[in-house]
Symmetry: D2
Subunit: 357 residues, 4 copies
């Protein structure tokens, strides 16, 4: 099989680096275009990007020349699919231009998430929303746009889906303890977080609430939100990677903690059925120890090797007596892998497997 | 006025040190007995205690000889009131012995919190529970026992009380981000918490749930729990001092965030009315900034100087649309001051002001 | 005595805040002008400054209007002495303008430190360098400029001085572990320092080497560097405040660790003799415990209350057998107090006591 | 080739876990015995060991039954070579018993490091010290004992060796910033290190000074220390893994920083010549960036995959003008891999390649 040529928009930032890292030796994709802002164009990737992952920069990427975020450049590199890790202002314009120019755009930015014909895709959860892309085509778009969810939504929607399927969901309240990398490398000053935490992340609670409803809803001539009530309180803590979320929920039908654990544990979706290269087997891992999940120990969970960091880890599933049909648990999801680059790559694999690129 | 002589049980630990520190130049109390475990007895306090506060050890305490946790020793030091910061196993026995020997015991340990005639006292919240002590006397106890709440309960109950009074409370869910000092100096290994968090604190959720109901309930020939549903998810984060809590609540009567803020801001209790030396004025501080409270910036809040760390700081009060009559907010309370030593000293001041010692 | 009116240049940054905080109730100085960059001018200090100290912002400062860094504004506020906490580019111009306009400028910036007639002053160490100011006057300058040293130089020069006086110094090597606040609030991203350290601080090693020689040298018709060899390796670690430095030294005359401790412990300078309000008594504190000094426990050392954070704490003084006449020790100095605002205030007190303002 | 059966003494601790992790799929060794203290004997490894690495516990180890640290048990498991990660008190006795019982013991403990016929082995640096083992045999020992150095010595001796060979070494001073894992999982309480550092590690400076001299010395009918002067100042910082060391040195012959970099970069030893499975190629990596090495980014350096964490990373090589023939640099070495388990495995590979087991 010929590999699909892919490019990365915003390749020098911390999510951009995750893409480069995860596309090492990818069996289906070959990375041929790295773009960044004007000041980096023309530099070697080695010089344009201050690499922050402990794996070291892949040799082949180090010598690539950074190009502009311009469809012409991507066409020159014979790219078919574009991953976007752009800052949000830039994303709005450039992602649209790329789609108009005929590229398949997979974005983990928020710019197009709430567009009427753009899915927010977690491949295990709502692969049926790919139907929206057919409508994009029908409207005459040359390329296509798919987005991944906000990094906080990601693990939450993943763990809600099997419960929704088996027991129905009425209300979900989540209190998050989010990692520093979610704000980008320069996002949180050390003086703001050492011996401290910050109980606020701009627009985050709104995003979580909206996105969960869209993801868990239907698509039929348009998106129909799920009939669930979702509330969030979002906090930043001094953890490098891995968002931890304490979830309280009211289910439609009563369920024991064991039943909840069991439905999560058995859950799988299209990526697992299609054996996509980056699909974690299983997508949700249940830990029985009383003190798990923990970000440092569990954020890289996921089998096989290529799916490291792609699994969502759940623990402490217990009854919440303060609510009728109440359940509470704690989840952990790697915010720059499952919550960004890794999820986008899995979307791209799904598009490929479904012959949509 | 002659000062009341007081002693501290468990004076060398981190809460014990808080007592010693906060009793510097106390206008009503004089610390004359410092006890610790057998291996420390006879040593100078300077040598028995590895001081961990950035204030330095008070000079007068450094040369005191550590005594055994024995009523005879405390009588010899002419102690009238005993603060207990004992580990829980030791607390059960020794606090009882001290009360039997005629001392007034103010404990921030859990040993006697759920006893039928022992109040869990937050002086601003439930000073009327001092009636239980009269029943202790009536039953023939020579001394008395009062306890303070768990460090997590403390800030929560403080902020719930004004809401309960003004709007009624139906359901409370709290997700905590608790400080390291809550586990004692040696409680949490650094390897367990750097770049990490631990979503579990043994028995903590149960304590919070039980204690809030007792504190917010009535006392009339016995304690009657408040008719509120309380659920908790407790997590440990890498912060030295100051418990942060994300609270979701359902009130009986609808209230706007402004109304909630206002009722908290105007709240005051017996300590404020009696102008007790360690009473924070006001007990609850509302921060308007979007990103407060933060532990490092707000944990020492409290006016006057002697009440530093005694105020509970609340921010981010907002509507929770996922719940009917839903409100959510974030609170911060200093766990070893308001949640332990400082609260106990305030109880002692209340006992003194009420002529109960 | 009428108070001297003072102003602060760069009042909203983290060192600027230290000035405001340390000038609360100052017996000799009254703060009447707070300046900041154009975007803050006209705002209340409360709104212009994101306060990061755990003491809370002093009430009287909160309502002051921020003014431009303009001599006219400072004259209008009847300022006599100006403290500068400006960023280095701005410092070069504005400090000179202020001195030209007749103000006494006390700067903890590097802009003028190596000027031929400007002393780098640590009042205990080189108060005789005030002679340079007389030469400034002689040259016709209307105001005057004095600087404080780099925050890393501060504790080092303080501890070297008594050794130089008693035993002579040949060579000094220092390896630093510097606090985050030294880089300003936004200086070090959390992603760069959590579970990490950075073995590089731009220009820092050069500054330490040069400044120590000037400070420990003579002034006689110009500065003559001390005949000492100084080398440094500077590292940043994840500590909020307090620079720790591991020092190796070769003395001229042999000295035992006890003798070194003793000469440091007995050391005092003009501030102690003049009993200046912010003078720490003593300026160097020797800790005997094997594991001190530690930043969190020792950075606020200093007696009396107004001198908290002004003492330099030394521990682990021992022989270094790898060097002839070798000694090694560890020192700790609060970088934004003794290494910046506090040292500058002490300089101002010295100027006042010497009738130079 | 049949695999050599190996066992691990002290397999449940943090270094013990590193052994288990690094022996996954080892081409030459098969792990057949995991021992731990009495309370763990008979349990599954999964239950006896609280796994702290982010890789997850290898499946095959999880079901192994933990055995006693008894030669009979190890014989039953047909072990030939024993890795020891015992606490130091236990090490003294048990390692000797194992050697007496005929096992080859490779220890990263300090118990036997200074024994007259036991080498402290860094395979790249002093493989010729294996001659000492022949003397062990000659004295009639049935098994043999080899030790690895203290985790701080490891990277230091590695980087000193090429300089010693090319330019000669006169004096070495090192100031360390050591990781938390060096003290074991429970070694450093979080309250002791968050927003702090500890400038003391018991016996560490003495070990570094002694071990470097033995490792860089000769073996000829006994060990002869190198004629170098070595001094150390050891500090603990809040980093999980990876010791950073700031080194000052005086060479015999003058050398430029470029020459020092070059001799380190070209350095290789027996493991590289023999292409041992865990040998890093090259053993020393020179970083040119001004701000490297950094523990989080560089501690896992090492190629090929099996040698991750085995390379020593050096940066900031520069002239030290305060010393004649002075050079300074910063090094980083992974303390539980290169400084413990990984180095021991490399020793074992060397023994195997040399037919000494």
């Amino acid at each position: 099989m010929d590999k699909v040529r892919v490019g990365v928009l915003g390749s020098t930032g911390s999510v951009g680096q995750r893409y480069v890292n995860m596309l090492r030796d990818h069996p289906w994709f070959e990375l041929t275009a790295l773009s960044a802002s004007a000041s980096s164009v023309g530099k070697k990737y080695r010089d344009a990007s201050k690499w922050v992952l402990d794996t070291g920069m892949p040799e082949w990427s180090a010598d690539m020349s950074v190009v502009a975020a311009d469809p012409k450049e991507f066409r020159r590199a014979r790219v078919e699919l574009v991953f976007s890790a752009l800052p949000s202002e830039a994303a709005k314009t450039i992602e649209g231009e790329m789609a108009d120019a005929g590229f398949a755009v997979v974005a983990d930015t928020s710019a197009h998430r709430m567009d009427a014909d753009v899915p927010i895709m977690i491949p295990e959860v709502n692969s049926q929303h790919l139907d929206a892309i057919k409508d994009q085509k029908r409207k005459g778009k040359r390329g296509l746009i798919v987005t991944g969810p906000n990094c906080t939504t990601s693990g939450l929607a993943m763990t809600l889906k099997p419960v929704q399927l088996s027991y129905g969901l009425r209300t979900v309240l989540v209190s998050t303890m989010q990692a520093l990398s979610g704000a980008g490398f320069f996002g949180v000053p050390s003086m703001a977080i050492v011996d401290n935490l910050v109980p606020y992340i701009k627009n985050e609670e709104e995003k979580v609430q909206q996105e969960v409803l869209k993801i868990l809803g239907d698509y039929k001539d348009g998106f129909n939100n799920a009939k669930i009530k979702v509330g969030a309180s979002c906090q930043r803590v001094g953890v490098l990677d891995g968002h931890t979320e304490a979830v309280f929920m009211i289910t439609e039908k009563a369920a024991t903690p064991e039943e909840i654990a069991s439905c999560m544990e058995r859950f799988e979706g299209e990526p697992q059925r299609l054996k996509l290269p980056s699909a974690p087997m299983p997508p949700i891992i249940i830990r029985k120890e009383p003190d798990r999940p923990q970000p440092r120990l569990d954020r890289m969970a996921g089998t096989p090797e290529r799916a490291r960091g792609m699994a969502t880890v759940v623990g402490r599933i217990r009854k919440e007596d303060a609510l009728d049909n109440g359940i509470k648990y704690v989840l952990l999801s790697h915010n720059t892998i499952r919550g960004a680059a890794g999820n986008a790559i899995l979307i791209a694999e799904l598009l490929k497997a479904k012959d949509m690129i």
